[in-house]
Structure formats: structure tokens, C-alpha cells
Subunit: 241 residues, 2 copies
């Protein structure tokens, strides 16, 4: 199966969780909006396909979306639940699959709260137009939410016992957890340094994912976009305390 | 299977999406925190079980959680993905199940954005302590997000063609969509009245779910809690424009 990923070409965003799964799983895929226009890619290809699907039977509400054969699948965690068994990124037992999905949905909540530190009022406004609110929200995030989420996932790894969230192999939730840690280190270097003593297993998981041969090759390639201030994880020093 | 629902006893909240599925699916279940203490219920039972699970292998990050045999399953959409096939609330084909789950995750995003209209800064603060920010956020929600989400689901129903989001029978996403519409009508009566002309199919779906015999019996029972200002959907007239 040759997959097609539909996502904004300039950012990691939520699409990065799908990219990491496709890369770590060794899937054949095209990142449509990042292809040159002469190869059928670019923003025009993205908007053309989305417009066609908006008129079709089952359009996604937002990106990322993954085309697999004739299907176009939306919602990041749903895409990963689809890819997981196909790419060997989830165990076979139903109980394990539910658990990995539960962790993925908790990561989705964590990511949404992280995003809202710089956009607490409106997606439709610039950061600069909601900076006062962002300062309050980021203070609460650093004080109450960051440690709570990190502590939860540190505990998950401690109980699982083999360096991954379930079993002895990486799942798509491990890949997403890597991305969340990398993003938080970029956006909140001080707050993350303060947590370092209580998040050793998360740091080890981050390094373990980086060392997976396919992930290492991906991260060193031009396919991996850099973090930026147009993305979910933004480095605004005033929000890092 | 006798299920146990773990959720805060005084509110509908996200637990209501699970309650509606259990009720509509005719499941045998106990709403643990709402049982009298002499029957093993109440808040003490809730916190005792959560503390035991926090020390266990796979604790949920937050409520609701559903006990099914020896498992405790967390994350609302994940619980519904588990219950759906068991309660006849999702079609058999994988493509249909992915689609229903995709819609459920989009409803989860809609619910989170609705909640944040009155809590844009911090869960840990009262509404009154973030009222200025809430006024800005609610204005953006009414102006940009409410119509976008409602229009999306109206389109889903239009294309599906049989009054449900998929096929000719109600799925768990239909039940959640009913709850979202009911909640929004409670919280934003003016904004919802302004949308009425463009959301006829959603209004019909709301009434169709209400008319399901098990749902009708549930809504008329004391098991159905009222909407309130301690919940996700709150009626603060100043946020309704």
C-alpha cells in the first residue's frame, strides 16, 4: 500500500505524529503538500484534494488526513489506530491496542493544552493579540498541567518495565511520546529542565526512539521539518517563566 | 457483562457520552459514584477505586473510566470504541467503524472547545477569575467555531442520507451528537437559535435520539442529571452574546 499524507507543508504539527509512524513503520508514502508542484504536489494539490473530499461522502473536519486506497482517514489518533496493526506499531491483543489508543488520546489532550498556551483565546488571532491571556494560561500549564501529564507518562513507563509503553517493542504511542518530549524541550526549556529529575524514563524513551534506525534516518533527512513559532510547540521565552 | 462506570456523580460531563451508550445499548451497568455509600457507592468508593488503579498497571489519566471485567478503560472515545461493537452501536465493517470513531474524535474536539469558552485560562481557576478572557474566547467560538462544527455535522448527516451518521441505525457518535446539540442549546440558546435554519438535520437527529425507547426512558429517569453551571455546557448569558 502506498499511502498519501495530507498535511500543511511548513510545519510538524499533528501531522508529525503520522509522519513518525509512517517512517518508523517503513511505509511507502507521499507527503503530498511537500512534493514539488510539477510532481503533483504543493499547496494547490492539497487544497484541490480537500475540496474534492469536502464534496465527497466522508470528508475530514481538519488535517492531517491519510489516503489509503480509496479511503481518506481523518483525526490523528484514528489514523494511528488504522496504521498501527498494518505497520507493526501496536501489539496484537485487543486489550493492548485499547491501552495504546488510550495513551494516544491522552497525548492528544496534552498536545491540545500545550498548543493553547500560546492560543488561549482564538485560533483565528495571532499570538501577539492574545499575549496577556497566554501569559496566564502558560503559568497555569507550567504550574499544574505539565508536571501532571509528564508524571503520568513517567509512571506508565515505570510500570511497563521494558522501556516502551507496552511490551518490548515501540508502538505508535511511543513515537508520539517522543515527539511530545522533543516539542516540550523546544518550547519550555526551563520548565522541562526543572522536571528532569522526575522524568528520567521519558528522557530515555526519547533517546531510544531517536536511536531506532528508521527514525534516526528520518530525523537526519530533509523530510524532518524544524520546530518553529508557526507550530504547536513554540519557543516564546516569556511563556517559559 | 456488568459494567461499572466511574465518573463524578454531580455532573453530566464527558461521562454522559458513556452513560448514553450504556443506556441506549441496554447494558447492565452501575454508575458507581451515584450509588448510595451503603451499597458500595459514593465519592469514597470512586476515590478508593481510583487510588487502587493509580497504583496498578494501567491507570486512566482522568475520568470517565469503565470497568469491564478486570479491565479499567479510560478516555471517552476509547471507551465508546470498546462498547460500540458489544452494544450494537457501530456497524460491522472496519471502514464504518473508523468513520464513526473519526466523528467521535471530532465531537471530542468540539466539546473541548465548548468547555474552554468558560475556562480559557485554567481548569484550576473559577470562571469568575477568567471571565474577561472567557468573553473574548466565547465571542470567537460563536463567530468562527460553532458554525464550522455544526455545518460539518449537518453535512455528514446530509450525505449519509438516512438520518444517522452512518447506515440505518444509531451509532454511539449519533448519541454523542445528540448530547452536544442538547448541551449547546442549553449553554448558547441565542447562538443556537441563529443557526437553526442551517441545522435542520441536526435538530431532527436530536429528536430521533430522544425518541429511541431506551433513551426516552433514561432521559425521563432520575439517572439523567440536569445541565448545570458546574459542567461542560454552562449557561452564562454574557457568553451567548
Amino acid at each position: 500500500m502506498r499511502y498519501e499524507l495530507y498535511y500543511w507543508p511548513g510545519i510538524q504539527g499533528r501531522g508529525e505524529l503520522v509522519r513518525l509512524a509512517l517512517e518508523a513503520g517503513g511505509a511507502e508514502y507521499v507527503d503530498v503538500a511537500r512534493l514539488p508542484p510539477r510532481q503533483g504536489g504543493g499547496m494547490r494539490a492539497l487544497t484541490r484534494v480537500l475540496a474534492a473530499h469536502a464534496a465527497g461522502e466522508r470528508p475530514p473536519f481538519a488535517l492531517p488526513a491519510l489516503r489509503a486506497g480509496r479511503r481518506l482517514i481523518g483525526q490523528t489518533a484514528n489514523i494511528l489506530a488504522y496504521l498501527g496493526p498494518r505497520l507493526g506499531l501496536v501489539p496484537r491483543a485487543e486489550a493492548d491496542r485499547l491501552w495504546v489508543h488510550q495513551l494516544q488520546l491522552t497525548l492528544a489532550d496534552f498536545i491540545a493544552e500545550t498548543h493553547d498556551t500560546h492560543h488561549p483565546v482564538a485560533l483565528s488571532l495571532y499570538y501577539e493579540d492574545q499575549r496577556a491571556e497566554a501569559l496566564r494560561r502558560a503559568l497555569d500549564f507550567r504550574s499544574h498541567r505539565l508536571g501532571k501529564f509528564l508524571g503520568y507518562f513517567e509512571g506508565v513507563l515505570a510500570r511497563a518495565g521494558h522501556g516502551w509503553v507496552v511490551g518490548r517493542r515501540p508502538s505508535y504511542a511511543d513515537l508520539s511520546l517522543f515527539q511530545v518530549i522533543a516539542g516540550l524541550r523546544y518550547a519550555f526549556p526551563h520548565a522541562m529542565a526543572d522536571c528532569a529529575g522526575r522524568t528520567r524514563r521519558l528522557a530515555e524513551l526519547h533517546d531510544r526512539v531517536c536511536a531506532l534506525p528508521r527514525v534516526r534516518a528520518y530525523l537526519a533527512s530533509p523530510r524532518r521539518l524544524p520546530f518553529s513559532e508557526a507550530d504547536i510547540w513554540r519557543r516564546y521565552p516569556e511563556l517559559d517563566g
